[in-house]
């Protein structure tokens, strides 16, 4: 029963949600609201308690054992508590907004900006004309990189139009093909889970 009950629940809820999509009646919408907006949110809220426990246990262990970088574990724990208490005490007022605008926002922006540097080093290392396919990728990437910036138009008037053609014809065709496959795969995986054929994610067979 311990193995069967999760499968029965997965089938029941999965099938119900599938049927719910085709039923516009308010009773069906209420069911969707209860499952998605209420149960889901309640489960998530409680799971965050476990997540915080895991977070603190992980970092406290690092500090206790003085593992490499344990100072940053201490900083992480202090930061979490500081933000949490700031939000609770000030009721998300201007001080909390300042923490978001002047600490979190710049940090997020900085991490994202690393992509510019990393793409350069990745391109230098990986874009080698080792074979025909790699050469084709290399040439196309070069054309698109030039055409997507104003200097492309400056070098050749037709460059932006060539790039638009690449984006709207071969690139889009490839995207569509992969998306169709992903869509079918997603439906098949969901079906396997509903029917109990796929059980690896449950952590027991």
């Amino acid at each position: 029963m311990r193995r069967r009950l999760p499968v029965i629940i997965a089938f029941g809820i999965g099938f119900a949600m599938l049927i719910q999509y085709f039923i516009p009646h308010p009773r069906s919408e209420e069911f969707y609201n209860v499952i998605v907006q209420q149960w889901f949110i309640i489960i998530y809220a409680f799971m965050y308690i476990f997540a915080l426990r895991s977070f603190f246990m992980h970092h406290i262990t690092k500090v206790k054992k003085k593992k490499e970088g344990y100072i940053f574990s201490a900083v992480a724990m202090v930061s979490v508590l500081f933000m949490l208490l700031s939000g609770l005490i000030t009721s998300r007022g201007p001080f909390f907004d300042s923490l978001y605008n002047y600490m979190i926002a710049p940090l997020q922006g900085t991490m994202f900006s690393l992509l510019a540097f990393f793409i350069a080093s990745a391109a230098f290392r990986a874009f080698r004309a080792r074979n025909v396919q790699a050469t084709l990728l290399l040439v196309t990437a070069t054309i698109v990189m030039i055409g997507r910036v104003p200097i492309g138009d400056y070098l050749w008037r037709g460059m932006p139009d060539l790039v638009e053609w690449i984006m709207t014809v071969p690139s889009m065709a490839a995207m569509r093909g992969i998306r169709i496959g992903v869509g079918l795969g997603a439906v098949a995986t969901a079906m396997k889970i509903m029917l109990g054929i796929e059980r690896s994610y449950m952590g027991g067979e």
């Binding site: 926002a105 200097i151 638009e164 984006m167 995207m175």
Partner: protein
Amino acid sequence: MGFWQRFLQLDRKWIFLGIAIVVIIPLIKPIGLPIKPTKPVIDLFTYIDTLGPESGPVMVVTGFDPSTMPELMPMEQALLRHCLTKGIPVISFGGLYPAYIGMAKMAIDEVSADFPDKKYGEDYVFLGFIPGVSAVILSIGIDIATTFGNDYYGTPIDSLPMLRGVKNYSDISLVVDVSGTSTPEYWLMYAQERYGVNIGVACTAVSAPAYYAFLQSGQFVGMMGGMKGAAEYEELMARKGYPTGRRNATIGMDSQSLAHLLIILLIILGNAGYFIVRRGERRRGIIRRKR
């Protein structure tokens, strides 16, 4: 070890330094490369440009957080400037996730400061975050006032003059989702397919290729992709004589142009080094395993 072998093992720190230099220099000494608008941006611009004060409002949805702000904030500001210049009523919607409301407020505050003659509640309104994602999009299709209740500042929707004749999507001219994630697909699924409202997209350069299919089928009226898309929109605004503000995207394009050129140069040199080293190894009879 020969020069090219050393070059192929170039420490990435030098590449990072090169990128930093080519990005910073144009910001200090702009080059002023010309921007040529492309069709997806022209389509979006033209659609909005044909609207006016008597049209239904344009809803600008903020769907990005600080990480994608450099790319997407210029787009949102350009859209807001365009609408306010033309006198098109604007509904600024703070987004489907709580992380986006700060960005929405930043955009509307900065742009509205440049239009002191425009009044809040009459020319533009700012709606806050409501949880629910797809449920919110669907609910707007029924009744905006019931969905939101109040605006971001707590004012009842019913008391805002601009929204008195605006009930749902049938009264809205266009919804533009300025997004760093996949939320345009939600607007497509729930707003466009179900209620028939026109949708425009302003997205990151990485996401843009995925939306060309929807552009081609006419499901999106137009698209701004990446910082170049924002720069093209600013260029179209400038050509029409509309106020463009600081043109942050256009300023950034010089840096992006040089960065792209540097990457292309590195790729060319890397391949040159690859072939030279390989030829040298073949001459010395070193067997290389095919990858």
